[in-house]
């Protein structure tokens, strides 16, 4: 088990290095000059040159890359040209928001999706199953930004149940957090539940028809026990991978969700960075987002490794 974990961690680090190279190279091609754009018109060339020196923009590319990586390892993600603020500061304020909402979304989606998936698998062919399947199929095609706008129209504007935009952290005021987070989380749920639900359902169906289930039934074990102890445990294993994948989608989708609901998270920060051609900010945001994704995958894989010995074997 130990070898597995270590190998897995090393692999994650390697991948993150590759990601940093990809991101850094991409940023070199971003059109527009962030320094000039940020400083504005009333500024001499001399001042622009000073800034370029200060941000090491005139150094050879490899040197800039190594400097960037070195600083990142120390936790310094550079200075945002547009905010004139330390990026680490900005991220430390905004990352908890994105992660909290993401976790809330994943948590609720998983519970809902597993319940629905199991229900429809166990009651295969019934009305429940058909309804769930139809909604899951439609849900796969619902664009995040659109369903968010529909929620705003119906629940915030017409019914006035929830505020249109904004965010309050759960540790500041849990009741307000529920109010503000309700719609963003609902949006994430609508986009995530369909795929988890379908996967759960098809896995459950597969497992239910296995020999060992038939044997258990023949041995007189109750239907309930069979469903929830034997079948579900085995069916859930691939679902764990899907949940891991959902983190990638949730964090990526946070760009849209945070934009529509005007939430101050890393997604919104990234969008602002792109709009204002702030290289350092964009680089940092993409790295942070990737680090979160890689870390989540690592955790998921390790859990997976605990549960399924075959996975551990494949990493030898």
């Amino acid at each position: 088990m130990g070898t597995f974990i270590i190998k897995r961690i090393l692999w994650s680090i390697l991948v993150l290095f590759l990601v940093s190279i990809i991101v850094f190279v991409l940023m070199q091609f971003l059109p527009g000059d962030p320094v000039r754009t940020s400083l504005g018109t009333d500024v001499d060339q001399r001042v622009v040159d000073e800034w370029r020196e200060k941000f090491h923009l005139n150094d050879p590319v490899i040197k800039q890359y190594l400097l960037w990586v070195k600083n990142m390892l120390r936790g310094d993600f550079g200075t945002s040209i547009m905010y004139r603020h330390s990026i680490s500061d900005l991220i430390s304020i905004k990352l908890p928001t994105t992660i909290t909402l993401g976790l809330a979304g994943i948590f609720i989606s998983t519970i809902l999706a597993v319940v629905l998936g199991v229900l429809s698998a166990v009651k295969r062919g019934s009305v429940t199953d058909q309804i769930v399947t139809v909604f899951a199929s439609i849900g796969l095609g619902v664009p995040t930004f659109w369903i968010a706008i529909i929620f705003i129209l119906v629940f915030a504007i017409k019914l006035g149940w929830f505020p249109v935009q904004g965010y309050v952290a759960p540790w500041e005021n849990f009741a307000q957090f529920c109010r503000y987070a309700a719609m963003p989380v609902a949006t994430m749920v609508v986009t995530m539940v369909p795929s988890i639900c379908r996967q759960t359902r098809s896995n459950m169906l597969e497992v239910i028809n296995q020999d060992y289930i038939r044997t258990a039934r023949a041995n007189g074990i109750s239907e309930g026990k069979i469903t929830y102890i034997y079948a579900l445990k085995n069916a859930l294993i691939p679902v764990i991978t899907i949940i891991g994948l959902q983190m990638r989608i949730v964090v990526g989708g946070s760009v849209v969700v945070e934009r529509v609901f005007n939430i101050n998270g890393v997604g919104n920060l990234l969008m602002n960075g792109i709009t204002n051609r702030d290289y350092f900010l964009v680089q940092a945001c993409v790295m942070i987002i990737s680090i979160v994704t890689v870390f989540t995958n690592l955790i998921v894989d390790i859990c997976y490794g605990f549960i399924d010995p075959r996975i551990r074997k494949s990493w030898r």
Binding site: M27, I150, T293
Partner: protein
Amino acid sequence: MSEIDIKSWQTETRKKSRKQAWRVFFGRGLVTKLAFVFLIVFIVVAVFADVISPYNPNVQNLRLARSGISKEHWLGCDSLGRDVLSRIIYGARVSLFASVLAGLIGATIGLFLGLVAGYSKRILNTIIMRLTDALLCIPGMVFTLVMTAVLGGGLYAIVVSIAIGMIPTYVRMVVGMVTSLRENDYIVVSQMLGARRTWSVLFKHLLPNCFPSLIVLFTMNLGGGIMMESALSYLGVGIQPPTATWGGMVSNGFPYLTTNPGPSIFPGICIILVVVSFNIVGDGLRDALDPRLKGKL
């Protein structure tokens, strides 16, 4: 058996399996048939937009701004008095074009890289696979967003970005297939017959076996491509006014949601219908062509 007999036996088998595939596909029920028909309609509408659209999508009639459903304008007008239905029809063209082109580019490059990675020595394989993994660690939305900005925005930037985002899935699938097929006896034998024949092995044997899965993946990705393109248009990364795009329409209609929600709602419904149809058709194709993929795609 003689050469000719083997050939005709192969043709017979192929014909039978094709017939079988059609039967399975359409045997899935009414929904699949409906989705298939809807997609045909979508493609026809997109391609023949000039003929089908009741109005020019960019013609403004400011006096009619934000007007609702009427006899002349079946889905109403947007904030600048442009006909919503016409803009949806032309938007279909943008969506179809973007997703098909992105899909083709992604599939071609992905296929090529996958074949190379699956078939070649360890170093090349490792490099390609690690890069693919790295790309998959950057969330799709984030990557395409940044890539589009880097490429300067606009339709082609979006297409290329979505295409690049699709490459990893193709690479992984092709590598998986190649790895499993490589061990087959007839491949080993072909290899023993000489290095010159590597490429012919690839093209004659591996490639045709990949096709069914490729087609399924391509169709599924079309839906994903449309979702991505509409999200990028919504975020406003590049398709310039006055071009009509579904995502752009939703975004432009947002400030007037209370008085005139049509321009924001209708394009979204279209997106749902099209993407769901692609998924259903993709499911059907998967069952018909390569049921082994069930549960994986």
